[in-house]
Amino acid sequence: MRTSKTIVKPIINFIFLTFLLVSCTEKIEKMNKVNEYPDIYPDYIGVTIPVGIAPLNFNPAQKSIDKIDVIVKGAKGGDLHTQGKWADFDIDEWHELVNQNKGGKLLFTVCLKKDGGWTQFKDFEITVSNYDLDAWGITYRLISPGYEVGGDIGIYQRDLSNFDEFPILTEKNVPGRCMNCHTPNQTDPKQFTAQIRGENGGTLIQKNGHAEWINTKTDLTKAAGSYASWHPEGRYVAYAANSVHQSFFTGRQSNLEVFHKFSDIILLDTDTKQLILHPNLRTDEALEIFPAFSADGKTLYYSTSNACDVPAEYLKVKCSLVSIPFDVTTGTFGEKVDTLLNGPADDRSYIIARPSYDGKWLMYCVASRSNFPIAQKDADLWLMNLETKETRPLTEVNSDQSDSYHNWSSDSHWFVFSSKREDGSFTKLYLAQVDENGKVSKPFLLPQKNPKEFYHNLFDAYNVPNFTKTKVEFDAHKAYQDVFYGERIQVTIK
């Protein structure tokens, strides 16, 4: 069960912990040694981390372990020691050690105590990257996984240097309303958009602290916008205007199929509140979905699939990955649509294109079908070199469950994605590094103070994660007023 995100709780916790903090470190005099890696949760063995990341605390995977003792030694100097029920590193000492070993390795020596005896396991390494993570933290939506009711849904932000989580907007503040994800311009929270669905619905555009609620639905557009992407210059936002539905399987394997009855791409001019429509982006014979502007803003990537009779023809939904030129000076799209990856020809579906902000890479999802990969068990992440157009599956990060909803850090050397790898149901967030050559590191699970307890007790799934350069400033009290009683600015068609 997720705990409350109020300011009061940490204060109370601090008071209680102050009383409980009676350190009692046991000296290990005798131990067995085994030549195998320790069974720890999360599996942080061999991962690469950025300087500034919160301590990679971990637990013994087995419940029967009484105690864990961990010594971390930096290849460039410094060390850390912790002992207890789980490896719980001091935040300041951790940062000091990681900083000191930037570009180097951290060597972890783990001893586990079971039935009164200690066992020392094979040491493992964690690499400290040379690439800084230019982000204060990440934003994401927490939602109950599964079916038609979102439950206690909310958009949150997390400080990546520690374990603090802050709500941006939760369902508690706008009860009974489903909220779509927070999308910043690249990773800059000074500009972001989000949507509230259903009654009193609207699209939020916040620029430099000024929030506007817009109605993007018109006679010509069939639905309000979602799955947003900002043009890098910050004037335009592309949305997919669609109707999303779910159908549910009856058997033992899959739970549900998510599909769209229709989908068009619309472009909002946030200055004039006009919608820019283009016939190639709103065809009757196809669904255009998941728009994403390139780093230079001259290209809009998106996925397109033939209009199928869904849900009956759900197996036929195969998306191609295409692009269309965009001219920011005139706010117009070109006429030629280029196909980068042909879904029907490859009998695959290519979805959620995310070009890196340095213009080098295009990361996307590949699944056997569908235009909603998070519900597809076989969804994997792939990477395209935008210069050579070479593609490859990211075997370093993919799992046998859905891996999707990826986003880049501002320097494009890190990405965050969501994965159902642990239990096929509760999506969690992973971070990984990409170097200049497109080599990707083993991903690491978003650190938590006590990861095993935290994730086991969490009944929400993470989705649509994104990096944020600084903390998102948002007045949720005003949002309540705006959602329930505020005016909506009606867009017009350009």
Binding site: T6, G146, G154, F248, F249, R252, S254, D423, F484
Partner: protein, 546 residues
Amino acid sequence: MTGKIQKYTLGIGFLLVFAAIFLFWAVGFPHALSYQEQYQLFLFTGDYFMERLSMPGGVAAFIGEFLTQFYYIEYLGAFFLSLIAISSQFFLFLLIKDYGKTDSLSAFFLSLVFPIIMIGLMGDENLLLSYFVSLLAILKSSYFFRNLIVFADILIIPILYWCFGPMVWLYIILKMGNYGWKYASMAIYTIILQWLVYMVLLPQTPWIEAALGIYYYRIPLPLLLPVFPYVAPFIIALTVYVSKGIALFQSSIVKGCISFLIALSVGFLVYNSNPYDKEKYELIRQDYLVRFEKWDEIIQRAEKFQVQSPFFSNCINLALSQTGQLAEKQFSFYQSGEDALLMPSVQELFSNIPTSEAFYRLGMINSALRYTFDLQESILNGQKSGRFCKRLAECYLIKGNHKVAKKYIDLLKKSLFYKKWANTADKYIGKDNMVMVNPSWNTARKFQFKEDFLYHYPEIDKMLGQLFVNNTDNKMALEYFLGELLLKGNVNEFVHYLSWAQQYGGYKEMPAGYQDAMRAIQSKGQDLTSAYAKYINAKLRQNENE
């Protein structure tokens, strides 16, 4: 001597009130207690405590939820409720005596206003026990701190507000009775206090909840603002104030009569507001009976009173099915239409319960999982449900997803009344073969669809047919299939598939319900003795009207 008699009389009076309230809940409305219990899951964890403590009104919520878990055993729940009611009445009695300087008997009669109001208010199934815990705490504080200097309230009011929420206003109102307008400064102080808490400590709370309480009502106040719970504290305060007026009368008999009449009038008003709507509470009772598998009682009650709703039809049909009477008697009871056996998905916390129970027993585990999951997520105050968590854990075990099942089992282990079940279920984790040893889980697993296809409610009859074909031991699926064909009026298909009933149903003779349906079909609905003919004719009329 008179004092002693008075004391004993009062004691007996309070005892009688206690007994009446206890019987009201334990005998009259145990299902209302079950309803409350099933929409929360009290956990014995530090996090749970901290979470409550971190919001204004959280102490009351914590105590309220702690006590509500005992509703699982109805007599225990009724006992605690009666205790709260009688304690609150007692402090109201003391306040009346102290403020009005009136005699004990009239104070007792006046204090009856509290249990009357409490019973009336509790007819609203969304009002939470934390509301009454707060009322009790505030009445008690008002009595104990009645003579404290005003200055002390600078400290007391914030503490009371944080622990019990905006009910602190009752404390202020009652104090104003003693101190008059001099005390208005404390009201201004409280407004500022609440405003500051809202601005600084409650960034994700709408102002209306910060002002009127976060934990008193299950439905968020921006969606539904109930009137009576916010009027009731004023009535209670008025009861205290009015005692001063009553004390002006010389005769004890007159004072007693007036007090009794006031209590009676409040009772009349409460009764007139019909807090226990018969149909609503009959559905809650049916749900309670389904929960504890009291199938015969469902049928017995339905023979006397039927609510014309799909929920009711789902309950009675499930009860008939579980007692082997569905084929015989389905149309002897009210059938709401095509949704009488299984309802389509409705996004709220109650309507789909009997359907999810039926899906589970049919072996449509994915559908049971979906309906149960959505029922739990529809609890708008974000609570989990012990009942639903248990069912989710079972569904995941049957599906073979032990990791997710373990999450729910471990959650239930932290509760009081689900712990034992969770500890037993935990033994199955990671041992999939053992799941097959459990008779009900093994049956559900055997009955599951072998092939995956998309659920489509308009074709529920076909799905039920497919489910039966999947495993011809699934007699419930057979009866639901044939029953659904009849509900839809697919008479040709019913006639066609009736041979399945003969072949697989294990009936000694064709069930009376099917014979009745055949008579109706053969007479083209003209056989007026046929229960099915009545149903189908009504359905045809309804279709024509639409």
